[in-house]
Structures are given as structure tokens and as C-alpha cells.
């Protein structure tokens, strides 16, 4: 098992670039998170992806409600593909080249002989775009901010997944979308999509609605039975985006992680969790608790059924503490 660290060349980045580089270095996965204590796996590294038809000519490939681990190879994310009269539309591409290749095969098996006309990336987190390499870059589309985020942080996030997942990542390189989206609607292959430019989970969260079926692909603005992640979150903005998402007319919602949802549970559960998270961590900061003390606090029963909730809560303490300290601690008069 190799533990790949950041190459010396990227460590020499000039000072003005350091902020983005640091942000990217901070994008650290959860769980045991250490390649060295994962069990040596003799079996073939095969995802065995399954397509679930969640609506007419619409398939979801559902990931496990876990963190990045050697045992799951990073298959923890939902991706989807849709058959249009003239071709196929793909939403997110998974965590690696290996996953992207497996997804291409699954699409070919499910809808033989149709060209892939469009790939949308919902945001720049590595589990959602690192399969881009398996697709023609000229059809991959996202808002400009997602493209910028991938350009800034893609390399370091890729390095970190190599560190966590080892050989599952072999050959994977970050490929940014080439089409910068800003239209409210797009017609692809005889099907119309409504596009929403939201944020809060990251600085740019792209939501896609299939106007024929009414299926909404929320990316990571919504989670279901899997704890939301916060490495780039702005909780207040995220809350507003969930209100917007709620008001979009839909027959079904596919969250970024967790099962597809007909009853509006994902939006409510995500909102409930991030509001609790913000409130609980604010309270810990106000009491002067250290991060370590806050990490031990109980998590309400209603969230116990969310996958990896303790791991994600511990990560969120690290993500949210510094800005809440700046917000909640008064500036003290100093003598210099």
C-alpha cells in the first residue's frame, strides 16, 4: 500500500496561492482515514455498480452511506444518468478514473449505443468529479465557480484521495469541466433541464432539474440518512439554499448521498442537522470549550440513524470552530 503525500513541487507554491492550497489540504476525509491501518485487500478492486431506475429513463447509482475507506474504494456518492431521445446526460462522475470507467460501462450496458451528450458536475468535491477523466471533457459542464474551485483545489484533493484509497485511485487525474454554465435552462438531446445556481455546501452548488420527469438532482445540498459534510460549508447560506430547493417543483429528489427521496425527507433532515450543528457548535464555542471537549458531546437521538454521524460531527467541529470563535468572542482591548 502506498501512502502518497504531496509532491515537493506543490509545497513550494508562492504565498498568494497558499490560501487555496491550504484550503485544499484541509479537505481531509473521515473515518479511520489512514491507509496504513486498512486491511490488505486481496480481492479485485471492482465497484460492481448497479443502476436503479428511479424515474422514467432515469437511473441512479447509489453509493454507500460511509466515508472514504479502502473497503468501499470511495463508492460513497450518488451519480445518475438520463436517457434523452438523442443521447445520454450524466450527473456527477464519482471519485476516481476506475469509478468513471465502471460508470461508462454501466451506462453502455443500460442504454446501449447512445452517445453521452452532457456531463454535469454538481460541485468540486472529489467524490463528485474525479471520474470526469472517463468522459469527453468537451461535454462536461458546471458553473464557472465549480470550474475555478477544481482548478484551485483539484490536485490536492486528488492527492488526498490517493492517500486514503490507495490503488483504487490508480491513474486518476483531476479534469475540470470545459463548459461554463450560466443559463437557467438547457436543452440536451431533446430533453429540457432547469438549472439552479446555489451555494452553502460549497461556494458553488449546481442543482439540475429534469423538466420532463420533475426529478431534481440536488448534489450535496441534500443528504439522506447520511451525515452532511461541511469542509467548505457556509451554514446560513446552505439553509437558504435548502429553502430554495424546497420550493422547486419536483416529483423526486436524488440527494448527493443516501437513497432517492419522494417525500421531501432529505431537505428537512439536512436542514435539521445543519441547524443543530451550527447551534451546538456555537454553544460550545461560547462556553469556551476546546474543540476536543466539543467533539465528545452527545449527538441527539434523531440523528443517530445518519451514516457516519459521529465522524462527520467531529470533522465539522474542526471546520466550524475558527469562524465561530471570530464571530462569538469579543475583540479585547490590547496594549501594544
Amino acid at each position: 500500500m502506498s501512502r502518497r503525500l504531496h509532491s515537493p513541487t506543490t509545497r513550494l507554491s508562492a504565498a498568494p496561492l497558499s490560501r487555496s492550497r491550504r484550503k485544499a489540504l484541509q479537505w481531509f476525509a473521515l473515518g479511520c482515514g489512514c491507509a496504513m491501518c486498512g486491511s490488505v485487500n486481496a480481492r479485485l478492486l471492482d465497484f460492481d455498480l448497479q443502476a436503479v431506475e428511479i424515474a422514467s429513463k432515469t437511473w441512479a447509482v447509489l453509493g454507500r452511506s460511509e466515508g472514504f475507506e479502502q473497503d468501499n474504494g470511495g463508492n460513497i456518492v450518488n451519480v445518475a444518468f438520463i436517457e434523452a431521445p438523442d443521447g445520454v446526460i450524466v450527473i456527477d462522475t464519482g471519485p476516481s478514473k476506475r469509478y468513471g470507467d465502471a460508470l461508462r460501462q454501466l451506462i453502455e450496458k443500460t442504454i446501449p449505443g447512445k452517445p453521452i451528450l452532457r456531463v454535469y458536475n454538481t460541485h468540486h468535491h472529489p467524490d463528485h468529479f474525479l471520474g470526469n477523466q472517463s468522459f469527453d471533457a468537451s461535454v462536461i459542464a458546471a458553473p464557472q465557480k465549480v470550474i475555478d474551485n477544481i482548478a484551485l483545489e483539484g490536485n490536492d484533493m486528488t492527492d488526498n484521495l490517493y492517500r486514503l484509497l490507495g490503488d483504487w485511485m490508480r491513474g486518476t487525474l483531476p479534469v475540470a469541466p470545459t463548459l461554463s454554465m450560466d443559463a437557467d435552462k438547457e436543452n440536451v438531446g431533446g430533453k429540457q433541464f432547469s438549472l439552479y445556481y446555489l451555494s452553502g455546501h460549497t461556494s458553488s452548488d449546481f442543482v439540475i432539474r429534469d423538466d420532463d420527469t420533475g426529478v431534481v438532482f440536488s448534489g450535496d445540498l441534500a443528504f439522506l440518512y447520511r451525515a452532511p459534510t461541511t469542509p467548505h460549508a457556509d451554514i446560513a447560506v446552505w439553509h437558504q439554499s435548502l429553502d430554495t430547493l424546497k420550493n422547486i417543483d419536483k416529483s423526486l429528489l436524488l440527494p448527493g448521498h443516501g437513497p432517492h427521496d419522494k417525500k421531501g425527507e432529505a431537505i428537512e433532515q439536512t436542514k435539521d442537522y445543519i441547524d443543530w450543528l451550527h447551534g451546538s457548535i456555537s454553544e460550545s464555542v461560547s462556553q469556551g470549550l476546546t474543540m476536543n471537549e466539543a467533539m465528545l458531546l452527545p449527538i441527539p437521538k434523531r440523528f443517530q440513524g445518519l451514516g457516519v454521524v459521529r465522524d462527520e460531527y467531529v470533522r465539522s467541529v474542526v471546520h466550524l470552530y475558527p469562524s465561530l470563535e471570530d464571530e462569538l468572542f469579543p475583540v479585547i482591548e490590547i496594549n501594544q
Binding site: 481531509f28 473521515l30 479511520c32 476536543n292 471537549e293 468572542f329 479585547i332 490590547i334 496594549n335
Partner: protein, 285 residues
Amino acid sequence: MVYLMKRFNAKLFFSFSNCQSVFLSGLLLMLAISTVTVSGAAMARDIPPDPLNSIMWTSMAERFMPEGEIVFDDRVKVMAPFSAEDQFHVPVTVDASQLDNVEKIIIVADLNPIPLVMNMRPVKALSYIGFRLKLQQTSPIHVGVKTTDGVWHVGYAVIDAAGGGCTAPAAAHGNADWMRTLGQTRAIASRTDNSSARMTMRMRHPMDTGLAVGIPAFYLNELEVKNSAGELVASLELFEPVSENPTFTLRPQVGIEADTLSVSTRDTEGNLVDFALSIPAASDS
């Protein structure tokens, strides 16, 4: 595989050092019997094997806990996450408040290029410190708490981390104006009970390690807290691995009356920052 080799070597090394120490202790005993004073006892002390099998443990003990018996002690609690979400800000809380007569607390990150993080003397404060450090790679953390009888009580944790925490430029350097906010401090303080308080402070400072290309070392290296009677509450000697915008939580011991804590800090360029924090009287809180 490499990791296993390291563990194996470390074990071999420890068993060797134990044998050697037993032999040396025997030799010393003989010397002592022949009425020679055991002034060389410190050199021959038995450094106990590290439960983490850190390959650097013996070196850490020799460099930073130079004299006195060393015992691993559960009363030195080291709270740290298994995995550093952010290798620039890894939270650690040390609580050795179950130990009496604590003279000083030293904190080392064995595999950091600069291992020594801090040397704290709790005088009128609980033997407790919350802080954040930078990690260059996955590392054991050892905390030595020296009691006035000369014994080092040692606690530990190991933290998995992505690389580069000590050699990347501080975030401050992404902003040309960073010096304007240098020393800006945010803090809160409150009373916990009739005899103790809790203070948390966060100061703007890049805490440059000197290991990022073109940026010399520049860090907060002294922090002292006194009470209104002028008595020393705690003093902290700080080193390069302490995180940017250093954040500390301390638990001063106070009387039931209101008190004002005076905090004074100094960095390696001689910049002094002083401020005061009020603790309400027990009857008011």
C-alpha cells in the same frame, strides 16, 4: 510493510535498551553499595518503552525530559482526534489536573521537523491546556508532566495527518495586509466554580515556522497570565508548531472574589501584547 518494519525495529530497540538498563542499574547498585554517591543516576535511568512504539521516543525523552524518572501515567489525559481534519490546526487538550504538585508540562510531536510544541508552567492554574498545533505528518504526541518530586508522568496520543502542516506558508501571507491585524485578540473568560475559571483566547499571528520557502521563523514565544494580586497564574513557552492564530484555553485557579487576569505575550520579534480579562465574583455568576 515499511510501517511494520519500523514497529519491529522499535521493539527490538526497546528490548535492547531495557536489558542495557537492567545491567546498568545493577552496576549502579554495586557502586552505591561501595558508598559512591549516585550522582550519575540520571544518565542510567530506565526510559520505559513507549506504548505507541514511536521510533523517536527515546530521543524525545532524552532531549525534552532530560532528568528524573519517567512513568507512563493514565492521569495525563491527551485528547486528540484520531485523524487531523486540518493539519494546520490540530486540536489537542491536555488534562493532568488529577496530578498534584505539577511543575511543568511539555508537549512534543515526535515526527514533526520541530518536535517541541510548548512548555507550560501551571502555577495557580489547573494542569490543563487546550491548544492547536501543526503536523507535518502522522505523528505520536507525547506529553510529559513533571511533578515537584522530579518524576515525569507521560501521556500520549497518535494523530493521522496529511502532509505539509509545518512547511506551507501561513494563510496570513495570502493577504498583503496581514501585519495590520497582528496581535489582534479575541477572548472570553468565565468562572467555572468557587475556585476555578476558564479563559479562551485567540490572537492573530502567522506563527511562521521558518520552514516555508522564503519566510523566516516568526512566532509567539511567551505567554504569561497573572492575577490581580500580581501572582503568576501560568506561563507558557511556545514554539514553531503552535498553530497560526494561536488559540489557548486555560483554567486559572481563582478565589471567590472577582479577579482580573493580566495576560502578557511576546513574539520572536519582541512585539509585546498585553490585555486584561475579568472573572466575576462567585456570587455574581
